[in-house]
Amino acid sequence: MSADEQEQEPVLAADDIVAGYVPGVDVLRGCSIEVRPGEVVGVIGPNGAGKSTLVKAVFGLLRVRGGTVHLRGEEVTNRPAHELVRRGVGYVPQLQNVFPALTVEENLRMGVYLRPKAYARRATAVEELFPLLADRRGQKAGAMSGGERQMLAMARALMMEPQLLLLDEPSAGLSPLHQDHVFDRCRMINSAGVAVLMVEQNARRCLQICDRGYVLDQGRNAHTGTGTALLHDEKVIELYLGTLARVR
């Protein structure tokens, strides 16, 4: 990365985030994360570390109790999620990421709810990325397989032409072939200029395609570094990647 790029204002900067679900119990206890323009950033960590919670807090789906969130320099802490969508953030949740009772087309239309006139143009664009959706416009999303739903959810999140895409475990529960497909699409989306923040269980795969990675543990940043550095960090291997990772 050039020095010039490092000077650039981060697309997303979350500082010292404290958040939780139950009053008095903080799941995140001072977590910081940054995404710079054009980057793919990975977040890994054990189950329950607070990865999904971090994404939800950043995106305004969960109340932030402390710390700040900035989008391209503007503070958006605790703004409602639909406002972040308007400001160019797309989000694909880990679970329940489509509206099952709505058709594929209706799901996509909801994706562009704030800008209905853009539907036709955007639908063509995302169907180019996910061709299977074109033949399924009239089908109920609830009748799709997990992998197909993931595609639809990503397509829906891309409808507003976001500059930042938040993906919570996009490859979870998918066959290796579908996982490849999802990671491929992430790269394609990123090469079109969209910054990507990706939470992944599949830590090794994730770090391989990431510019930088964060390791989260018990609601705090445990390690930070470039994808490759984390991939070869003894401590990270020991704790999060599993000793099998060393075999490679």
Partner: protein, 331 residues
Amino acid sequence: MRPQRKFVLALALVLVSVPALSARAQGEAVPRGPTFGARALQALIDGIQFGVIIAITSVGLSLIFGTIHLINFAHGEFVTIGATFAFYLNAAAAGPGWHLIPAAVAAVAFGALLGGAVERGLWRPLRARGTGLINMFIVTIGLSLLLRHLVLVLYGTRPASFAQYDIQSTIGLGPASITPRDLTVTLLAVLVLLGIAMLLQKTRIGTAVRAVSANRDLAEATGIDVQRVVLFVWMLGGGLAALGGVFFGLVEIVTWDMGFKLLLLMFAGVILGGLGSAYGAMAGSLVIGVVAQMSTLWFPVDLQYAWALLVLIVVLLVRPQGILGQAERVG
């Protein structure tokens, strides 16, 4: 369904059943026709008419439950307020004496504003403070009492009819008959129901209502302003309840507690059809209306609400998710 929701639901049913069952029913006994077949046909026609009016009022109840999981115990009062407001404009001694049609339109607008006002002034602030569903439900009971007694003070206890379309000669329908007024009300009600279906199915805001009902967080994350959609649902529900009140006041009579008595049947329709499903509420209400009227063929008219409740219990034992409801998905 989460236990909390089940509890609120059970409580709502008990609360609404007791007064409704002890009160005199509002429907009329089917006149002794020449043959049983003729009387049955008459009861069916009356039942459909009753059912579509219940459906108009219960769609809003169902949509409100679908979007924010709140059982609006005060929904019956929206019905009463619609009818009494139209009565004031149309036939009250102190009122301006408008024709019923503009009075009805104004009542619907008033109902929508009232729905919007309680959402903005009450429910939204309560939700923002994280008030639990049970507490919110208790607030709706309080609101219901408050509004009902406000109507009592302003309107009084005397049942009354609108100034127009009161006495009419009937048109024959084979062995049965219907007044032009009742026929018009029924057809209008059906048109309104079709309109709601179109709205939900074909328009942007309607699709958003369905999206919010399916998954609130995902709707917000998709870029839908969920609070705006909820406001829309309250205004739609308030307006429809008021319209149902005017229709009910037309085919029956306007009273200060008409909506509260109707609430049991609205609930029954909503639950029967599958909680939160607008089409389910329509279908369920139609069934309830027909059952309530058909029961008068064999049983005293005062028991007609009890039969509606019985049907509800039987259907729920056989198909707990309601007629059109989806079984709760596991996994």
